[in-house]
């Protein structure tokens, strides 16, 4: 009787080609649609149309006024908080806000201090956000100390 040589066990191998094709297609799809997500947040501004607010305004409770001036290229040239000139230094602005409202007991919510931003029309929006950042708080370690939460804009200047 002839005995077959069992030493040469045949290697059973799956045909991988089609799977690799699909897997590469998937990989290409994910690589092409990949986009690094930048985290975003909001500065909330509650601004009803002037005069439509039913709340009675206390004439002694006037908002702080921040005036931002720009050159013809939209670059910030000067800032003034309640007529106090601050140059273009946002840290100076923050220090002045801290002086004006104090930091010992920051008032939150509707009763907190208010600021009105009056900006030149062509000032770059980036500077407005930087000034809003400066007046709305600062970071102490990982915690955010809030200063002014109520922000509104003056009428646009043409």
């Amino acid at each position: 009787m002839k005995i077959r040589n069992r030493g040469e066990a045949e290697k059973s191998s799956l045909n991988m080609t089609s799977m690799i094709d699909v897997v590469f297609l998937l990989l290409i799809f994910f690589v092409m649609t990949f986009k690094i997500v930048e985290l975003e947040g909001d500065f909330s501004v509650r601004m009803p149309l002037a005069g439509s607010d039913s709340m009675t305004m206390d004439p002694t409770d006037l908002p702080l006024k921040l005036r931002l001036q720009a050159d013809e290229n939209g670059k910030l040239t000067s800032m003034a908080l309640n007529e106090i000139s601050l140059g273009t230094d946002f840290d100076q602005l923050r220090a002045n806000v801290v002086d004006l409202i104090g930091t010992t007991a920051p008032v939150e919510g509707e009763d907190g201090p208010e600021i009105e931003i009056d900006t030149d029309y062509n000032l770059r929006y980036e500077y407005v956000i930087r000034s809003i950042t400066a007046v709305s708080g600062y970071k102490q370690g990982n915690e955010v100390v809030k200063l002014i939460e109520k922000i509104k804009f003056a009428k646009p200047r043409r």
């Binding site: 947040g41 500065f43 601004m47 029309y121 929006y125 956000i129 809003i132």
Partner: protein
Amino acid sequence: MKVKSKKVDLAEGDLTPMIDMVFQLIAFFMVLINFAQTESNDRVKLPSSQLVKPPEVPLEFPIILHVAQDGEIILGGDDYTAETLRVGLQKEIAVIKAEGKTVEDANVVIRAHKDTAAGDVQEVIRVAQEQKLENFALRVKEDNS
């Protein structure tokens, strides 16, 4: 003389490590893919601020306005100017009212390019105010530096 039979062997490399790597890559991209990026617009590069944090709960009834560098406003895929924005906002307000909510419940999310004129953003706010919208959110990029 003995002649060896020439069996043509298929040269097969070991594909296992490659498949491992490819699956790892797919898993990586799948986890990081974010289909909810419809809010962003290529024409808008947001300014950044250290103080903002991503909101824990999404805003209710958002109306997202993209303000491009030239002051053009994009709302729901359509381009508007400050003069024509009123029409677009009225459409959005109609949808909100159809859901049984008032205009005051809506949140206007302003995604303005960092180099756009501040006056253009103010104009957008003014037009929205005229439509009785009063809650605005100025969207900025989180700056961790």
